[in-house]
């Protein structure tokens, strides 16, 4: 704008108007705007919020006992028709039916959802942490450190993640005892195992990307300046270099979250993941689904609802991820 200070009232008003019209936005705000323009992403965000609210409200309204209390008189019961949801006794209403020991599936979806989502987030965090550290260290320090770390990373990348998951789940399975959160709510130690296992098998992609970014960034002037000033290498790495690789980390995070939730489902489906008594998760509710299919009439509600919820969650996160990718990298054209 004008470099000279406004003198007359007319000029002052004009300047104010002009200033008001051109609001300079920060990159974050710009990204957020771009995100909002992406319809699917907004849908995804809304859906995810709705899902989380559902689980939170569910946890408050539905006692955990309901998810774990078997009822031998009412095993594998059909889902209660919607017309009866509010008329019958609340203990008898099973919107999603009951499972093989008579436990209410609706309640298990809520509490299983907590577990699945928490596993997803924690495993993701573990994966990101390990990936960033490995990639950053390898990229910044170079030399034999780089060589060794990358050799291991490349080697592990060659094995399909599911195979690695199965082997690790067998290895670490059941080494950690159950944790008691409250009188009725126990978390199987296998939850921690699953988090560890998924985290340890998903860091490799990110490590490569972070390394590449760090490699290109470390030649920059500000890095040289910091080194000359005597700033410790670790500080340089984690205070300056890593934050500049923010965008790929975010993108990788959404993919990683999707992967973590899906992988938890796979591993639990094979019986190697979260152990059912005492803890439900969306994945292990689908365990043994096949044997139920053969009955006449087929029992479908046991696996259908967890599957739908997993699909919805992954779908929403995928939409969000798509939006984020667009928002953070405006050069992409799709």
């Amino acid at each position: 704008m004008a470099t000279l200070a406004p003198t007359s009232p007319a000029e002052r008003t004009a300047k104010e108007i002009a200033d008001a019209r051109i609001k300079v936005l920060t990159p974050g705000q710009l990204a957020w705007r771009r995100f909002l323009r992406h319809r699917a992403a907004v849908l995804g965000l809304g859906g995810m919020i709705a899902l989380i609210l559902f689980i939170i409200i569910g946890t408050v309204l539905v006692p955990v006992r309901r998810a774990n209390k078997p009822n031998p008189a009412n095993m594998l019961d059909n889902p209660t028709p919607i017309s009866q949801w509010f008329t019958g006794e609340s203990a008898d209403v099973h919107p999603f039916g009951t499972d093989a020991t008579g436990r209410d599936i609706f309640a298990r979806i809520i509490y299983g959802g907590q577990i699945s989502l928490v596993i997803g987030l924690l495993a993701l965090s573990l994966g990101i942490t390990v990936g960033v550290v490995v990639g950053g260290v390898a990229g910044y320090f170079g030399g034999w450190i780089d060589g060794t770390l990358m050799a291991i990373t490349e080697a592990l990348l060659c094995i399909p993640q599911l195979f690695l998951l199965i082997v690790l789940a067998k290895l670490f399975g059941s080494k950690i005892p159950a944790i008691t959160l409250s009188q009725d709510y126990k978390i199987s130690g296998s939850v921690i195992i699953v988090i560890l296992v998924i985290g340890l098998t998903s860091w490799m992609y990110l490590a490569r990307i972070v390394r590449a970014n760090v490699l290109s960034l470390r030649e920059r002037d500000y890095v040289a300046a910091a080194e000359v000033l005597g700033v410790s290498k670790i500080k340089i790495l984690f205070r300056h270099l890593v934050p500049n690789t923010f965008a790929p980390i975010i993108v990788s995070a959404t993919l990683g979250l999707v992967g973590a939730i899906t992988n938890e489902a796979y591993v639990s489906y094979f019986g190697l993941g979260v152990q059912d008594p005492p803890t439900a998760s969306w994945g292990n509710m689908i365990n043994n689904a096949l044997s139920y299919m053969q009955r006449s009439p087929p029992v479908w509600w046991v696996w259908f609802f967890p599957g739908i919820f997993i699909t919805m969650t992954v779908l929403f996160i995928n939409f969000i991820g798509d939006g984020l990718r667009d928002a953070l990298d405006p050069r992409r054209r799709v």
Partner: protein, 595 residues
Amino acid sequence: MTNKHTFKFLGLAVAVSMLLAACTPAAAPAATSAPAAPVAATEAPAATEAPAATEAPAAPAEGGKSVTIGFYQEPSATYANYSTQTFAAWLGNLTNIGVWYYDDKGAPVLELAEEFPSVEKGTISADGKVITYKLKTDLKWSDGEPITSADFKFTWEQIMKPENTGTASKAGYDQITSIETPDAQTAVVTFKDVYAPWATLFLASGPSVIPQHALKDLATLDGSPYVTTGAGPFSGPFMIQEVVKGDRIVLAANPNYWRGKPKLDTINIKIVESREAVLAGLRAGDIDIGPDFVEASIPDLEGAENLNTFALPSSSFEHYFFNFGKGDEATGPTGPCAFTDVNVRKAITMGIDRFTIADKLLYGKTRVIASLWPVAPWENTELKPYPYDPEAAKKLLDDAGYKPGADGIRVGQCGGAEVKLSIKHTTTSGNELRANVQTLVQENLKDIGVEFIPDNKASSVVFASWADGGTFTKGEYELGGYTTGFVAGGDPSPSDAFKISGIPTEKNPSGGNNYHLVNEELNQLSLDQEKAGDPVKRKEIIFKMQQIMYDEVYVIPMYARLAITAANKRVTGMKMVPDNIFDVFTNAWEWDVTQ
């Protein structure tokens, strides 16, 4: 240029193949371009060609009567003692005979043997160390050669031969010092010492008797056609005609079987991928007999109109057991202090509604047992299972000094310290029935103030050996659970399950006393029954053991495991014997088909 055409062509090819696929189910079988697999002349049409949308049962083969059995595991050897699998044992039952087999009353049915050795007839020596087997005359192998005592001796030699590295079990045969064959029908077997389970030796589900004339020139049985491709010759009702690895085993009737040619002409053993696939095949009529189902399949099997379901409580049982380790080198890590009080154990037993479990989760097909020898004649039927009585359980716990705390879980004094009745239960993970049982038990015990926490581990961890950190072996559990059985091949020996010397320790890692129990009386009785050659005396000892275990509630017997086989209604003459191996294949010579 070329790319356009390539992609268009690909697209077309895909469209065409999808069209073809969509038409196929309703159409007649398309002309096959794949090379036909070698098909035996009498292959039953039970393996349907057209995947037709009908369910008509297979028409009888041109060549005669046949039956299709579905195995979901391929026998790893065609000689039963070269494999540890149950499926190989069943194949053995179909193709070979042993000295006898056990029927559904637990009585021996003679096959090779002319008579059952006994002291009165003089065929068991006074000191019990020498057993004389008299074989029937006129027994023939499927190739016409006679079955003689030379084959008997040869079998034992082959089991003990170190070059036969694939031998699955030498149990018992290594107690034999010599076998004499004074004539072609007599074999005199001398044991090192009195071996009480001698009657489990030389059975068809194990080493049976193998043909000396065909195998005597082999340096080793490993990899030989007899063991891998079923070259024979055979002594049983059927002989192996063809083995197609990964697909099927074709058996043909043995005309030289000592009871005469069986009624069936062929048996097809189809190797299928999983139990679900066997079930699907049974319902579709493609498979006639499917053995070894799990309890969860019962509603599906019984719901099928074309199937007969055989579900018998077998001699195997599921039990929950306490860790009696005392925290020393001899017994392993300390089990929960509360378990040292018999009243606590009794309370827990009465606090679990085993009857509803048997009723609901096992569809009422099995029973709650009171002893670990749940089959005739070894079962002490005087003992009745402890009832489900939560009030009595609560009283027992109150009297033992355990009062409910603020969270409902009982707390009391034991061994000078405050103890909470919070118990971890360990069994194999990934087993739906066990998981469901745990869910119900958890609920039951909550009602009486005991906290029950499932802590399952993979089976290859809980059953691992000492060196591999096996949970039960090392005593790293509180309450455990698994299936086992002591009656095998008609013999009731619990081996070292209750012996003090059987407790697994660093110095003795392969003991079988997973309960880590030290009870002098049980220990002595275990040793005594091994030496008791007289079945009556043996039974007395086993009865006493059951009484002690009942009074002291050392274990909680949950239910007898079911042996489940399903067969198409067209197959007649099937009988099931509740041996440890859930056998239906012992009387295959009697099977017939109605169409």
